[in-house]
Symmetry: none
């Protein structure tokens, strides 16, 4: 029996509430002896650690640095090696595009090619987002392929996403990005028999794109990769009989939440508004995914001090969440984003779980080097969902 | 997706270097309150622990005592439950025999049988290694089977190994060792259709062996077990894009290293010569497996004091390794060999990992009861390879 089958069998609906607070990229590395989290003054997070049970999570596997997709799927209880969300789908979710089953999405890079068609710059000199927007509008307006709806959407700088909507499309199409310069882009080849039509459609899309962009240096062509369609993922309702809601600001996290069956709640741009949304909707759902993004952004920018400040701001919001008195409150992250690395990393992530049924341990601070001494020890993040369900008394006994 | 597929996808070649130091059987059990490692004066290993991140490894699974095969495969990142190296192959590797794909190897015990052919002593009174050598030479010289090359090699005392080389041989042959006395040896039966020829060959080998040894009590027959051929194991090059080298004195470890694609470097008999070999070859590879055997041998001999001395000798060599300044230096063992048990055991093994990207923990001593408090916590040894790769910045991000 697989993990999800087991939980489907054991789960029962009940009025108890779970709040999962994800502080994106919370984990760090020491700079002058202390990580961002260790540097931050976090009396409220520390109180959580003191009154709960703590541990460290491996987002995927020891050593594996996750993107946002695998990082969150694991926290929601899905083995990220079993459930993969393709790059194209994540890009589409990231720009807030309402993907439908059967849609094929692919990541686009605007690029520069020379007279012979060889790639000179895979990022077209990192064009501005506003130029990107103009180019996408032009492609959206002028490209016509019979029987297929095409949506071209700007992400950022040289990055965009295209969605093909039509009958019997397949995402088994090879990347056209050669991953190096001095060679022409590759052909979008069908990787299965059923992908031949889609391959022809993508080739025609590229032909028209070349016509439209051809004279517009530096962004005179595109490279495509990560063709993908919505994966089939059993929802949190189906598995855990939950009525779950998502509170997030960035489109990608809302998109992943929708994928697993969460209702995405309207909220504002600030972290405080997110907490307000939690307060206003607290009676209406039994599972909340509350996502704070800025810890990750500041880590990716290499801004140690800003990350510290944001952690302190989040800390100041914790009492309002605790006041709601959910049966289970968990604070953790989807991965580490050390500002010294300016990127996601493989390092473990602290977790604290507060519940009347938690076996409280001796950890009194919510920091990377204190939580490892907690009662949860070190474990893979995919285990968290079962623990939250158990502490909410939403799981029956397994076996007689 | 499986673990190795994931790492194959994420791995990239880079100039950074990894040194994996395996102190065979390092873990112990307390005698008068302290283990061998806890008794030893280890300032240099302790410094490693202080400047790195520590933990405890389960070689295979909690409770499982590994042989050298599974113990090392796990350290190299291969799930030992998925990749099995048969006893015959390990014996052949152990005597330094250059096994080829398709060869069938089996462990031999010289044994004593009575007039009725019943086994009286499964080890022929543990005959001397020199008598073993004479018997093997006799069998090697006199046994002739058309179409098959046969190699009979001494291991130690009553143990030897035979290799059959020919066309279309199969290792699906049942053991002849009845595992008890008072009964005759079993027949070498074919366990699959394709093994019928091999079964006939092994029967003929046994018939001729009986003729040759029949009058030579106590070693007047042999028992065979563990028929096996080289498993297909994807190499460290294929999975991790590494250029790996092995520095070991004992043939079995060299053999396992070769199995996973390592270049085996020429070295001397002493531990110091092994370190010299590391120094001399440091520029030429990006992964080094450095194996120290004597901790295991002394543990197996039940010699607590000798094991302590050898640990101290290894400790004194650590500064030379650190001076090379590899991006990742790991010190651990393949299993425990408590001298009080005189054998391998299931107990966890300490590990310390030093790297500029390690989240250094508070552990300051490289001992069994300190390392469990480290940032790596307790984990299965198979996870170590991914961690080494990550800390050497040789892994891409998983997913978008």
């Amino acid at each position: 029996m697989k993990r999800l089958e087991l939980f489907q069998r054991l789960s029962r609906s009940s009025p108890s509430r779970i709040v999962l607070v994800v502080i994106d990229g919370i984990g760090g590395l020491p700079v002058k002896g202390k990580t961002e989290l260790e540097t931050a003054f976090t009396p409220n997070l520390d109180k959580l650690a003191e009154e709960g049970i703590c541990g460290m999570l491996d987002p995927v596997l020891p050593g594996v640095t996750p993107g946002s997709g695998p990082g969150h799927l694991a926290l929601f209880g899905y083995d990220p090696l079993e459930f993969e969300v393709g790059r194209g789908v994540l890009s589409a979710l990231g720009v807030g595009f309402p993907l439908q089953p059967g849609d094929i999405a692919a990541r686009i890079n605007f690029a520069t090619v020379d007279e012979e068609g060889k790639v000179v710059d895979r990022r077209a000199g990192r064009i501005s987002t506003s130029l990107n927007r103009k180019l996408c509008e032009k492609l959206q307006e002028r490209i016509k392929i019979p029987g297929v709806d095409i949506f071209v959407k700007t992400e950022k700088e040289h990055r965009a996403v295209v969605i093909f909507r039509g009958k019997n499309l397949s995402d088994k199409i090879s990347d056209t990005d050669p991953q190096k310069t001095g060679v022409p882009p590759k052909e979008p080849l069908p990787l299965e028999e059923e992908a031949k039509d889609t391959s022809r459609i993508v080739k025609e899309f590229l032909r028209q794109t070349r016509e439209i962009l051809g004279s517009l240096k530096p962004a005179n062509f595109i490279l495509m990769r990560g063709f993908a369609s919505l994966p089939h993922i059993p929802t949190l309702q189906e598995i855990y009989k939950l009525h779950p809601a998502c509170i997030a600001v960035y489109p990608m996290y809302k998109g992943i939440a929708k994928l697993v069956g969460m209702r995405v709640l309207e909220t504002g741009e600030s972290m405080e508004e997110e907490v307000l949304t939690l307060e206003e909707n607290f009676e209406s759902f039994d599972f909340f995914f509350l996502h704070f993004k800025q810890t990750d952004s500041s880590g990716e920018d290499g801004d140690f001090e800003r990350k510290v400040r944001i952690i302190e701001e989040i800390d100041s919001l914790i009492p309002r969440i605790r006041k709601l008195n959910p049966e289970v409150l968990v604070v953790t992250g989807d991965h580490s984003t050390p500002s010294s690395l300016k990127s996601h990393s493989w390092h473990t992530v602290p977790v604290a779980l507060v519940s009347p049924y938690a076996r409280v341990d001796e950890v009194r601070e919510f920091k990377e080097r204190t939580c490892i001494k907690g009662g949860l020890g070190r474990m893979e993040a995919v285990n968290l969902m079962g623990l939250m369900m158990a502490h909410a008394l939403k799981l029956e006994k397994f076996g007689a």
